[in-house]
Amino acid sequence: MADTAVHADEHVDHGGHYSSTGLSNNKLAMWMFLGSECLLFGGLISTYMLYRGRHSENLGPDQVWDIPFTSASSFVLLMSSLTMVLAVSSAVRDDDRNTKVWLSVTALLGALFVAGQVYEFTTFYREGLGFTTSLFSSSFYTLTGFHGVHVSVGIIMLMSLVGMISKNKVVGDKKETVELFGLYWHFVDVVWILIFTLVYLIPA
């Protein structure tokens, strides 16, 4: 840990508290949380990679995927990352109106992505890939389900953030809160980038 011997006044982070590294506690906590989430999604992805061939006599991965649709939904999640960044940059410019607009657009795009997931799961289920059909299906649904829950929680946070900004109830530094929500959202998008390539594009 590089010992940042920085003189005192620079140590006051924009939260107003004294801090030894000049960084905000919340952002440090969020990055640590994302670091530990790597382990969580890493475990789920490696379980999926182990069990992807295990569907004795049942539907295999490539018989079920609908690559065009999934790439469209990946495109949507990517764009929601863009709108999130625009929301953060307008928050930094203290332009509340645009922040709210871009946050709602991000939430809407996220909702579209989740709708796409629900659609995809229903079609797989109709095609005979239930949660308990085979090891491949159990591990696939668990991985994408966990990711879907993270996206949905993110959307609910985004929508309530819009509500909080409009009612001016945001506790602490508004810029930083929007930035932290942005970090969470980008992490969820980054995890989908991994899932999209490893699960869908690499044929079993």
Partner: protein
Amino acid sequence: MSTVTEQHDTHGDEHADHGLTDLGYIKIAIFLAVITAVEVVFSYTQDQLGAAFLPGLLILMAVKFFMVLLYFMHLKFDSKLFSLMFYIGLVLAVGCYAVFLATLHFFQS
């Protein structure tokens, strides 16, 4: 009785956030969309690519991963401590799970 919740007025010593401009972000987003499209094309032309298929896909994935990480998540411009926190988690995850899959003969053809 003032009922406005404590609103810290952020005093201006915030170091200039020299991230990208909005236009810069849009350019990156388009670049990522193009890479996604290339990846999908890769997945359809597996047999033409032969051996370069798997490494190609993985490299494209890594490029997208780090693009979003460094630019959208501002890791490139923020303090090294944030990158350290995230990269310890990433390295541990990739390392441990790679060894775990290796012991289960995952990488044998």
